[in-house]
């Protein structure tokens, strides 16, 4: 089976580093960035199957970033995660990504893996 490429975007470096390593251990190819700019920059050079975005990112929301990334990689899938869990965020998140693709922090790794696999297949 083809290796799935995952891009992780969150301003908490510790989080994305660990998450990336755990996905690697589960057979994914994963890369991480901590800013929106770096994420967009990354897309110019590499192709990813799935992007996992934090809703609250410095200077730009995850949803805004999604739109910009879609422009660069139209067939890329998105999963959102948030630690905020406010009603407003949840509504926006579900409207944009659909309920299944909206995850609350802390992330259950099995749930994340299942989502990624479901989306790509």
């Amino acid at each position: 089976m083809k290796t799935i490429h995952v891009l992780l975007v969150d301003d908490e470096e510790d989080l994305v580093v660990t998450l990336a390593e755990r996905l690697e251990l589960r057979g994914f190819h994963s890369e991480w960035v901590t800013t929106c700019e770096a994420a967009l920059e990354m897309l110019k050079h590499k192709r990813f199957d799935v992007a996992v975005l934090d809703i609250k990112l410095p200077r730009m929301s995850g949803l805004a970033l999604k739109r910009k990334m879609e422009a660069l990689a139209p067939d890329m899938k998105f999963i959102f995660m948030t630690g905020h869990g406010s009603e407003k965020d949840f509504e926006e998140g579900t409207a944009e990504a659909g309920v299944p693709n909206y995850l609350l922090k802390p992330i259950d790794i099995k749930l994340l893996v299942n989502r990624i696999v479901e989306m790509v297949s």
């Binding site: 301003d11 660990t18 251990l25 410095p58 922090k105």
Partner: protein, 584 residues
């Protein structure tokens, strides 16, 4: 507990700690003093004035009444005495004119006349006829007196000179008080002759007796030398020297006041009886005369004392009651204020809660991943993880836990600090603490915060909890006004030896000019739809006053808003643990 303390109202030792610069409005002891002073003054001054006027008027009236009465008594008595003397003199004058010397010398005629006089007037002792040379010609009376030569006596000279003579009272041969009345008659031809009569002085006394004033008063006659001519009750018997000054000559009745040897105040009425050496004197003890006045005065003073006591009791009771009521109302107000302040604080925390939850959730997510990774590594069949790798994960977990703990501790310390305690505070600490709650929000919204506190600002003595709440309210407002990418500046400057000025400046949407006057008023809010209570800035205003500072605001719509706090370095706020009411 002493007697006084039991009655001491609750407000007596109360010191308001929450009134800031308007402390004088809450000095209940002062309000009480003022109330008592004003009400008692308004009530008592007219009472005193009326009593004083009444006192004066009544005293004067009674005094002049006494003078008038004495004067009337003396006048009436003088008239009686004058008449008595004149009557006798005119009788003698009639006799001497009606009977020629020849007739008078006729044996038995003088005795006949004397008998007639005694029968009609009474009091005549003897009669004698004296010729122009002063020689007694005829005598009729109880004594065997003949051929007396009066030519060198003063009375004779006076009769010759003035036509009549009335003598002082004397004892003479007769060893009983007598007076002499002598009249001269000048017949159309031949030498003049004199009719001389001796009268009992007792007659005057009997005339005076029924007129004498009662109760220690005295009515008597003295001569110009001050010798009593009639007996007196208190000043000696006839022919004794009266122990009172002889009043100066006056044609009318006069009344004077003087002190006697015993120091008693006397009211003396006197009159000179015309064509006689007599002075009529009425002596009254002023003390006795004023006795009715003393009684009236005692009643007046008793009435006054009772009135004043009643007024004072009512004034004290009413003032104490009213001030107690105000105090209770104020206590309720302060308690309500603290409740509202506390509620505002909790609301601020509530507004922060979402952010704080996020703050805590992030490290938790890291912990989750790190722990998950450790588990992943341990589950690998061929463990590739080194000891140091696992150690790094554990360290990262500990660091994340520490992050959570810091956030929680900050939140708890902020929520719990409710007691008023003044301590030295670095203003920068407070601001950083408050900003700490919002640092993530600032980061996400791209809001930059600048803390520009001049290094010469010393730690200020203030209430940390209140300061935190003040800044949290201001920062919350600023964050609501700021758009993404805005700036929030804290500027601290020392403006005098004992005051600092701290400005919270944002470049947000600003406040419209029509609203700016109302921003510190309670229940004024433009964000009611977003859950604003309209109490935030009014509470901030109250809090700033409580720590002895002032707050002002300047704003331009679209440019930004500047809240300026002026805070004392050492607030002179009397701290009283008993009265610092803490809500919650």
């Amino acid at each position: 507990m002493s007697f006084l303390q039991r009655f001491k109202p609750e407000f007596w030792d109360y010191h308001d700690v929450a009134s800031g610069p308007y402390k004088h409005l809450f000095d209940f002891r002062r309000i009480w003093y003022l109330s008592v002073l004003l009400t008692a003054g308004v009530a008592l001054i007219p009472v005193f004035l009326l009593a004083a006027i009444d006192y004066q008027v009544t005293q004067k009236a009674i005094e002049s009444e006494n003078v008038l009465r004495t004067s009337r008594l003396v006048s009436n008595t003088r008239r009686t005495l004058s008449f008595l003397l004149l009557e006798r003199r005119y009788a003698l004058q009639f006799l001497v004119g009606d009977n020629s010397l020849e007739v008078l010398n006729r044996p038995g005629r003088l005795a006949e006349i004397l008998k007639n006089l005694q029968d009609s007037f009474g009091g005549f002792t003897d009669l004698e006829v004296v010729d122009a040379r002063g020689r007694q010609i005829t005598y009729s009376g109880p004594y065997d007196l003949t051929n007396f030569d009066y030519s060198r006596q003063k009375w004779f000279a006076e009769v010759v000179d003035r036509g009549s003579h009335t003598s002082d009272v004397f004892l003479g041969y007769r060893q009983s008080p007598h007076i002499v009345i002598a009249v001269k008659h000048q017949p159309p031809s031949g030498p003049f002759y004199v009719l001389r009569a001796t009268l009992e002085a007792d007659r005057f006394h009997r005339e005076l007796l029924p007129l004498a004033p009662g109760r220690g008063g005295d009515l008597f006659i003295v001569n110009a030398a001050g010798i009593l001519q009639t007996p007196s009750r208190r000043y000696g018997n006839t022919l004794e020297k009266v122990p009172l000054p002889v009043p100066e000559y006056a044609t009318t009745t006069r009344v004077l006041e003087t002190d006697n040897a015993d120091g008693e105040r006397l009211l003396i009425g006197y009159a000179y009886i015309a064509e006689s050496p007599f002075i009529l004197m009425a002596v009254k003890n002023k003390e006795d005369l004023m006795r009715p006045w003393y009684k009236a005065r005692r009643q007046l003073i008793t009435y006054l004392v009772i009135s004043i006591s009643a007024i004072l009791i009512v004034v004290l009771a009413v003032s104490t009651y009213l001030v107690s009521k105000i105090h209770t109302a104020d206590q309720t107000r302060v308690a309500a204020l603290h409740q509202v302040e506390y509620a505002n604080k909790m609301a601020s925390i509530g507004r922060l809660a979402a952010g704080v939850a996020h703050e805590i959730n992030n490290p938790l997510a890291i912990v989750n991943e790190k722990a998950g990774l450790i588990k992943d590594l341990l589950q690998q069949e061929n463990i590739v993880a080194t000891r140091s790798k696992l150690m790094a994960q554990a360290d990262s977990i500990l660091a994340s836990v520490k992050r959570c703990a810091t956030i929680i501790r900050r939140l708890l310390s902020f929520a719990r600090r409710t007691d008023a305690a003044f301590e030295p505070i670095e203003i920068r600490d407070i601001i950083e603490n408050v900003i700490g709650f919002l640092v993530k929000e600032a980061e996400h919204r791209g809001i930059s915060t600048i803390i520009d506190i001049a290094p010469d600002i010393p730690p200020l003595r203030s209430d940390r909890g209140k300061l935190e709440q003040i800044f949290l309210n201001l920062v919350n407002n600023a964050f609501a006004a700021l758009s993404d990418g805005g700036h929030l500046t804290f500027e601290g400057r020392k403006i005098s030896e004992d005051r600092v000025r701290i400005a919270v400046i944002d470049d947000g949407c600003g406040i419209p000019p029509e609203d700016i006057k109302q921003v510190f008023e309670p229940f004024f809010s433009t964000r009611t739809s977003q859950g604003g209570t309209g109490l935030g800035l009014s509470i901030t205003y109250g809090l700033v006053q409580e720590i002895g500072g002032t707050i002002g605001v300047e704003s331009r719509p679209g440019v930004g808003t500047r809240f300026t706090l002026t805070l004392p370095l050492n607030p002179d706020i009397r701290k009283n643990e008993n009265n610092s009411r803490v809500a919650g």
